[in-house]
């Protein structure tokens, strides 16, 4: 295999930076969920890359757990977005402020 560990880690850093950019700039709730997915995927990529190069099977096991937990998180997040959309008729997170005193 000609690809080194550092190449995978650099791709993962790029995905993390793009995710943080989306999370800090966008106000659309669905797009913020996209950004969270990118950050979670960069973490999974790191796990599997280090598991290949150490080598150890526990990294892949942890990546499988992480993928399953991310699926649950997306289901709850989308349900929350649907409830907020029915309440405010909007998905702009600057409008979700009934908790503001």
């Amino acid at each position: 295999m000609s690809n080194g560990l550092i190449d995978f880690v650099l791709v993962s850093v790029a995905l993390l930076a793009i995710g943080i950019y989306g999370l800090s700039v966008k106000r659309n709730a669905i797009r913020m969920l996209f950004a969270i997915e990118m950050i979670v995927n960069s973490a999974n990529l790191n796990l599997v890359a280090f598991a290949r190069f150490i080598p150890n099977s526990q990294g892949q096991t942890l990546a499988l757990f992480s993928i399953a937990i991310a699926a649950a998180e997306v289901a709850v997040g989308l349900a929350l977005i649907i409830v907020a959309y029915r309440m405010y008729r909007n998905i702009d997170i600057a409008d979700f402020r009934s908790l503001k005193g």
């Binding site: 950019y21 800090s24 309440m87």
Partner: protein
């Protein structure tokens, strides 16, 4: 040195990640997110982890992307095609992205990861199954309970009848 397949997959992944955040339509954005997640599955295949790659394809591309597409379809039309973002924060966000890329990138390039090479055998997926059923079996049961409770919670949230838009104050 990297090979051409790695370069193609990384360009596809990073490019469609940027497109998922920047394309005006949310529907095309979610399709671009699907391409990003498939690219991550391609990386898993390059890392000799076909079991994780298939899991990624079936969970992310198969279920999560379809769930996101259904949610996008439930939203009003003009919200799908309008970009909602803080214009003042935009350049600060781009600056933050470049700072993170350069900062963590230089740290990683300066670290000892560059010399790390492997010539060992790939991990058999039977080993993963054995791990799941022996050492990690309590964690597997807890994860099943978490998944069930999150699905029940999502259904209970989304099916609430008492939520209307009369709580809006302005």
């Amino acid at each position: 040195m990297v090979d051409s397949i790695f370069l193609a997959v990384s360009v596809l992944t990073i490019g469609s990640a940027i497109a998922a955040l920047e394309i005006r339509s949310l529907i095309y954005g979610s399709i671009a997110l699907m391409i990003t997640l498939s690219g991550i599955a391609g990386f898993f295949l390059l890392l000799d982890a076909p079991f994780v790659a298939m899991f990624q394809l079936s969970v992310y591309v198969g279920s999560i992307a379809v769930l996101i597409l259904f949610t996008v379809m439930l939203v009003r039309r003009e919200l799908i095609f309008n970009k909602i973002e803080d214009h003042r924060r935009r350049y600060a966000g781009i600056g933050l992205m470049i700072i993170i890329m350069l900062g963590i990138g230089t740290i990683i390039i300066g670290s000892g990861l560059k010399t790390m090479e492997t010539n060992t055998q790939t991990i058999d997926y039977r080993k993963i199954g054995e791990d799941f059923l022996t050492y990690y079996s309590p964690a597997l049961i807890v994860m099943a309970l978490i998944l069930t409770s999150s699905v029940i919670g999502a259904l209970a949230l989304a099916r609430r009848e008492d939520v209307t838009n009369e709580q809006r104050t302005d």
